[in-house]
């Protein structure tokens, strides 16, 4: 159709609007492709690793050794392998958890180098090796025995290498290592544990785990520690990460795509309005409605196709880099990147579908007029909408009235600007809010006043020196909510190591049952309630009456006096399994234990927050670009629609500064409102994310709030995009000539 020859010319005439639209589509497809392919690959790698290297279904410790393991395996229809481990302090702040190499469950996957080939070989986790600059071939001395690093490996039960399950973030100086069983035996130390993999793939592993525990019990074997893989924070955080990636891969591109849809709808509506006389003439010349439809549909479809292809292709390139980056935190082998063609097709087709449909409806609405009406032209331009009509602005100064009317003139343009600024604000504040949450969590550690936390392998009865307090903790579930577990912790009455306060900030005695706020919220408990809780180790049910609720978000805990703890949970009187201390304790050599310092925990959180800074920087850049596109496109639309008014103002003797102030500054209030709207939307978005984290890994963040400095920084960034857009549009205003108003009549 000869008419289509003008498409290129029309696109070039209004470059800003079309380039802005294409950029938004590119952004949308880029983020969708990148995030979805990234999430897909991450999930696939995790699944392949877990299946290929026989990830355990549960790990456990028993009070005594299991005699005939083969017989137990066939009775339980499972593969059971006994492993050995101990923590070795390489240097100050550098700890290696050394495992004997398993052959049947939790097999180490070589990510670089080669397998253990004999005695004196050692495999290290790549993150530990990188952090401490160990290379393949380096020598490492452990308890006076020399080892050669032959390769780097990943363990399927240590994907996220937490030193202890109570921690949230891996410690920078903590890593895992695998040596041969013979080498391990030669040390003559370490703790034994069992990893079990059930053979029946059709039955739920948790159900099999319950049956297996019953089986052990029936054989007189007491379990002292049990962790189902679903509760293993070193593994289940992978699922949480995939959930978050999937959430982000849908939310962000959809928001940007919607922005593009609103923008294109605006642009097409304006194009048709501007060309209504031409369209009327084409009808009069015998063109069919279908042909006109097809012509105008070409614009949104062309933008969707160009943006879709470029965005989808660009989104593919960084997938490998993103996965590799992710695997520096989640230790898994990178076997390759697979691109899911369906996701690529969706990425390409989605903008076509969205823009095609919205474009079709806009064109249909605009072309509903008769050829005569169309030829009469520009009805839309002089229309006054409901809001403009009802607003009484008499008492305001003229510039204020003018700016308000300018914004209300096009409600779709107003919606686009509001929505665009809100989306940019959300992206900008997303990182800031998370950082505020973590900052608050770090400062909330006032609840603990000890320096070291000891965990003993066996029950202890010995009294502790001054400056140390015994405690015991067990994992429980609520009968009503079997998904999220929590600790019940027996501590010293009137503990000096654990300081709890109530909602008003008044101190709470620890000589009673106190629950922390996250668990109270989760189980909807209030003071005086009684809750039935299930001990995860053996499924026993206990009732606990809540005396007080502590206003703290350090974790999900029920604190009670240690004596009551032992009594209620049938533990030997005077026993304890853990200890808080302000000094390092002198523990006899025959007692196994692990120790974590509170400073290490905080250092881990701070370390983990470091990448957050770059994430915030990245998000701020994207927000800046989107904000600039949106505000620039809207401002240029305003200039475009007001060419006659600008021209008229010049004739009337308005100075450049005055025109710029009236026309370009008219969006200021909308940008500010968009930013303000963006703040609660950010909270809502992050609320979904945090809920997902809480559901997946039981991570609890304090109630979301964003600190004032971050709000101000966000505001400055948004206003900078606004000023930049105005600067870019100032030239457009200056080029409007006075003759434009003279040549055309506006009414």
């Amino acid at each position: 159709m000869v008419l289509n020859k003008r498409i290129k010319r029309v696109l070039l005439e209004n470059k800003a609007q079309y380039i802005g639209s294409i950029l938004l589509i590119i952004f949308s497809c880029f983020t969708f492709t990148l995030m979805s392919q990234f999430a897909g690959n991450f999930e696939r790698l995790a699944n392949e690793f877990q299946d290929g290297y026989v990830q355990e279904d549960a790990s456990f410790k028993t009070d005594k050794s299991i005699g005939n393991l083969q017989e137990l395996e066939s009775a339980a229809n499972a593969v059971i392998e006994e492993g050995m481990t101990f923590d070795f302090t390489v240097s100050e702040g550098e700890t290696l958890r050394i495992f004997s190499k398993n052959d049947r469950v939790n097999l180490p996957a070589i990510v670089d180098g080669k397998e253990l080939s004999g005695r004196g070989d050692i495999l290290l986790s790549p993150v530990f090796a990188a952090a401490n600059e160990y290379k393949i071939g380096d020598e490492l001395t452990i308890l006076d025995k020399s080892f050669t690093v032959v390769g780097f490996m990943a363990l399927p039960n240590y994907i996220y290498p937490l030193k202890s399950e109570e921690m949230m973030m891996p410690l920078p100086g903590f890593g895992t290592a695998v040596i041969s069983k013979e080498d391990f035996a030669a040390f003559e130390q370490g703790n034994s544990f069992f990893a079990v993999k059930f053979n029946n793939v059709d039955q739920n592993p948790r159900a099999q785990s319950i049956q297996f525990r019953e089986l052990l019990k029936s054989r007189g074997i007491d379990i002292v520690q049990w962790t189902d893989i679903e509760d293993n924070k070193r593994v289940n955080i992978v699922a949480a990460e995939v959930d978050i990636l999937n959430l982000v891969s849908k939310g962000v591109p959809t928001a940007i795509l919607l922005l593009a849809v609103i923008l294109i709808s605006n642009v097409i509506r304006r194009l048709i309005n501007r060309e209504s006389v031409i369209i009327g003439a084409l009808y009069a010349l015998g063109y069919r409605r279908k042909e006109i439809y097809r012509h105008y549909l070409t614009f949104p479809l062309l933008i969707a196709i160009i943006g879709g292809i470029i965005g989808t292709i660009l989104g593919v390139f960084p997938v490998r880099a993103m996965v590799s980056f992710m695997l520096t935190a989640f230790i898994m082998p990178l076997t390759g990147i697979e691109l899911n063609p369906i996701r690529m097709i969706i990425s390409f087709l989605l903008p076509i579908l969205f823009l095609g449909c919205s474009g079709y409806f806009i064109i249909r609405k605009e072309l509903r007029q008769s050829p005569v009406e169309l030829m009469r032209g520009n009805k839309e331009k002089s229309k006054v909408n409901f809001l403009e009509r009802v607003l009484k602005l008499e008492k305001l100064k003229f510039p204020t009235k003018f700016k308000i009317r300018e914004q209300l003139r096009s409600l779709s343009r107003l919606a686009f600007l509001l929505f665009g600024v809100a989306v940019a604000t959300m992206l900008l504040l997303w990182g800031f809010t998370l950082k505020s949450g973590f900052d608050n969590m770090l400062t909330d550690t006032g609840v603990y006043t000890f320096k070291y936390e000891y965990k003993f392998e066996d029950l202890r009865y010995e009294s502790l020196p001054a400056g140390a307090e015994p405690f015991s903790a067990s994992l429980f579930l609520s009968e009503a909510d079997a998904k999220n577990d929590f600790y019940v912790t027996g501590i010293m009455p009137d503990s000096a190591m654990v300081t709890l306060v109530d909602e008003s900030g008044a101190p709470l005695s620890t000589n009673q049952v106190v629950i922390t706020k996250p668990i109270a919220n989760q189980l909807k408990l209030k003071q005086g309630d009684t809750v039935d809780i299930v001990r995860k180790l053996d499924g026993h049910i206990f009732s606990v009456r809540i005396d007080s609720i502590a206003e703290t978000y350090v974790g999900k805990f029920i604190f009670m006096p240690l004596k009551d703890f032992n009594q209620k949970f049938e533990m030997p009187e005077g026993s304890y399994m853990e200890a808080f201390s302000n000094e390092l304790l002198d523990i006899p050599e025959n007692q196994s234990y692990s120790v974590v310092s509170l400073d290490d925990k905080l250092a881990a959180v701070r370390e983990a927050l470091a990448p957050t800074q770059s994430m915030i920087g990245g998000l701020a850049t994207i927000a800046f670009i989107i904000g600039t596109i949106v505000i620039y496109v809207v401002t240029s639309l305003i200039v475009e629609e007001n060419r006659n008014i600008i021209s008229l103002m010049k004739i009337f003797g308005y100075r450049k500064k005055e025109i710029n102030s009236l026309i370009l500054n008219s969006s200021t209030i909308v940008v500010v409102i968009g930013y303000i709207i963006g703040i609660p939307l950010t909270f809502a978005g992050i609320g979904v994310l945090v809920q997902s984290m809480e559901d997946s890994v039981g991570l609890t963040l304090p109630p979301l709030r964003i600190d004032l400095p971050y709000i101000l920084i966000g505001f400055i960034v948004v206003m900078l995009t606004y000023e930049l857009s105005k600067l870019l549009c100032r030239k457009k205003v200056n080029t409007v000539s006075m003759s434009e108003a003279l040549k055309s009549g506006m009414e």
């Binding site: 602005l393 003229f398 003018f402 008014i645 004739i651 005055e658 003759s739 009549g745 506006m746």
Partner: protein
């Protein structure tokens, strides 16, 4: 002499073609008079008006308005000149569609040093009851009244009217011409009007006939006809 133009020349270059629009025009108009420029399309009337209004510049010659040599003003001084001294009335009204009648008048009063009262000028054009209406809700004649009110609110020294009745029917046109005459009398505003309609010349003090960039006839009417008696 309020307006004193002599030997004004203006040409436009389009590619290699030079179009000489004004070929050495001279004209004079006293303060408080109404002048009418008659001429066919392409005769140079609009160009002459644009130069007088400070929207365009002549290539050579002298254009003096109330003692100001308009042709010699720089861009900023021209802006001040338009801002303070000149009122414009256009053939197609050029009202801002999303501003009410009152606000359209404020577009000009907003930048005037000592504007007239908006209600007073609205009353002068008999539009006070439509102050809160939008242009779309007015007839062509009413819109031209608003356009006139907008032009006179700054109490300009010179009111330039480009075919003010060109888009109106006979009766409405007469009412607008009557208003112009009333404004001229009430505020002492000098008015220069360009038109195709020769009948309008009867209400002017001076009439200039323009053809192909030259004034072919300049006449002084000793007796001007009230607008309500003009017929065509």
């Amino acid at each position: 002499m309020f307006i004193d133009i002599s030997n004004l020349k203006k040409s436009y270059k389009s590619g290699v073609v030079i179009n000489e629009v004004l070929k050495g025009i001279g004209m004079k108009l006293e303060k408080g008079e109404i002048g009418v420029i008659l001429g066919p399309s392409g005769s140079g009337k609009s160009t002459l008006m644009n130069i007088l209004g400070g929207i365009d510049r002549g290539d050579s010659g002298r254009v003096i308005v109330d003692g100001i040599e308009v042709n010699n003003l720089n861009d900023d001084a021209l802006t001040d000149y338009r801002r303070g001294d000149i009122g414009f009335v256009f053939q197609f009204y050029n009202l801002v569609p999303n501003l009410t009648v009152g606000e359209n008048i404020e577009v000009v009063s907003n930048i005037s040093k000592s504007p007239l009262n908006t209600d007073e000028v609205l009353a002068a054009v008999e539009m006070q009851d439509k102050k809160h209406r939008f242009p779309r809700e007015l007839s062509g004649g009413e819109q031209q009244r608003v356009s006139l009110a907008r032009a006179i609110v700054k109490n300009p020294k010179l009111l330039l009217c480009d075919e003010p009745t060109g888009a109106l029917d006979y009766f409405t046109s007469r009412s607008i011409l009557l208003l112009l005459q009333q404004v001229n009398k009430k505020y002492g505003t000098t008015i220069l009007m360009i038109t195709h309609n020769a009948a309008i010349a009867a209400m002017a003090n001076r009439v200039f006939k323009l053809r192909s960039g030259e004034i072919v006839e300049a006449a002084v009417n000793q007796i001007t006809v009230p607008a309500e008696r003009i017929e065509w």
